[in-house]
């Protein structure tokens, strides 16, 4: 990023290529729609591009990048015409332009009943995610999927570590509640 700040355009291209898949993935998890996820990811990198002259290496670049992505996602949530839709897998399958792009989740599971169970579980998780507040969703995804520490997540969403701890706990509580029936009440 410092190289790009000094005018090295190739450096930005390298950053984009290295991180784009992660950012698209994060935005997809956050908003639930592939097309919107890509728009949000592009917006994230455009902001990085524009913010380069003001960039100061106070934290890891990846932490800063996800902070921007989180801001973009939270802004999307605050829009009056909020486009967030965690769609069911059935609906996704009905949309021919987007469905083929989803990776098949049933890795190594060729048995139809196993695949059905897995799809049902994914449905429950998606529904639970849709019920989380914007900050809960961001904190949970940043922790569980991106492996950021509570301190880093606090920097990213502008909250204290204790607040992050509460956000993650509440997010997990909703997820475990949603999956409770699926796991026979063990969750």
């Amino acid at each position: 990023m410092l190289r790009f700040k000094e005018g090295d355009q190739v450096a930005f291209r390298q950053l984009f290529d290295r991180h784009k898949a992660q950012i698209i993935h994060y935005c997809h998890r956050y908003c639930g729609r592939p097309a919107i996820a890509e728009e949000l990811a592009q917006e994230t990198f455009l902001r990085v591009y524009q913010a380069a002259p003001r960039y100061r290496p106070e934290a890891l670049f990846r932490t800063w990048l996800f902070k921007i992505a989180t801001n973009v996602c939270l802004n999307e949530l605050r829009r009056p015409d909020y486009r967030h839709h965690f769609e069911s897998l059935d609906i996704a399958a009905d949309r021919p332009d987007e469905a083929p792009r989803r990776e098949i989740a049933a890795k190594g599971n060729d048995r139809p009943e196993k695949r059905f169970e897995q799809a049902e579980q994914q449905q429950l998780v998606q529904q639970a995610m849709a019920q989380l507040s914007g900050e809960q969703r961001a904190a949970l995804l940043l922790r569980v999927e991106q492996d950021f520490s509570y301190q880093e997540i606090g920097q990213q969403i502008g909250r204290s570590e204790n607040h992050v701890k509460t956000l993650i706990h509440r997010g997990r509580r909703k997820l475990t509640a949603a999956l409770a029936g699926y796991f026979g009440g063990e969750s």
Binding site: Q122, L124, S149, H169, L179
Partner: protein, 156 residues
């Protein structure tokens, strides 16, 4: 006898190893003797695993092209000459000072322009002497309908 069950929030933080070393030891020790908390802990593990197992997304073929087009458009808008950018850098403070002086002068010496007079106002001002004579005006009212009065007289 095991220690009291930790709060769910503490258990969640323990799961993330986000507690102090002392707290981590305490929770670990508690879990060893508490089946209920071990179940809760296992539930957290399953919830995280379920989240990670959601279907992923492959990058669409047009993603890169669309992004670099946006970057090109942004660069183009930055390069577009504006009156400010065309002004030599060394002269810019002078320009700002000049504009500021202009604004100050307009605020102190400028007066809002009076609206243009209407046709009636112009007529009034041109015939001020006439309209100040009340008796004459009364007669004018009669004279204005002089033809109609004459016709009535003839018919009568």
């Amino acid at each position: 006898m095991t220690t009291p069950c930790p709060k769910d929030e503490t258990l969640s933080a323990f799961f993330d190893q986000a507690l102090s070393p002392l707290q981590l030891d305490q929770v670990r020790e508690h879990l060893a003797g508490c089946l209920a908390c071990r179940h809760k802990h296992a539930g957290l593990h399953r919830a995280d695993a379920a989240l990670r197992e959601l279907p992923g997304l492959t990058v669409s073929p047009g993603f890169d092209g669309a992004f670099w087009a946006k970057v090109a458009a942004l660069d183009e808008s930055r390069r577009a000459p504006s009156w400010w950018r065309r002004f030599p850098v060394g002269w810019r403070p002078l320009l700002v000072a000049g504009l500021a002086a202009g604004v100050v002068a307009a605020l102190f010496f400028g007066r809002p322009g009076a609206p243009a007079p209407t046709a009636e106002e112009v007529y009034l001002s041109e015939n001020l002497e006439l309209f100040s004579n009340y008796e004459l005006l009364r007669q004018m009212d009669v004279l204005e309908h002089w033809d109609a009065a004459q016709n009535q007289q003839k018919q009568g």
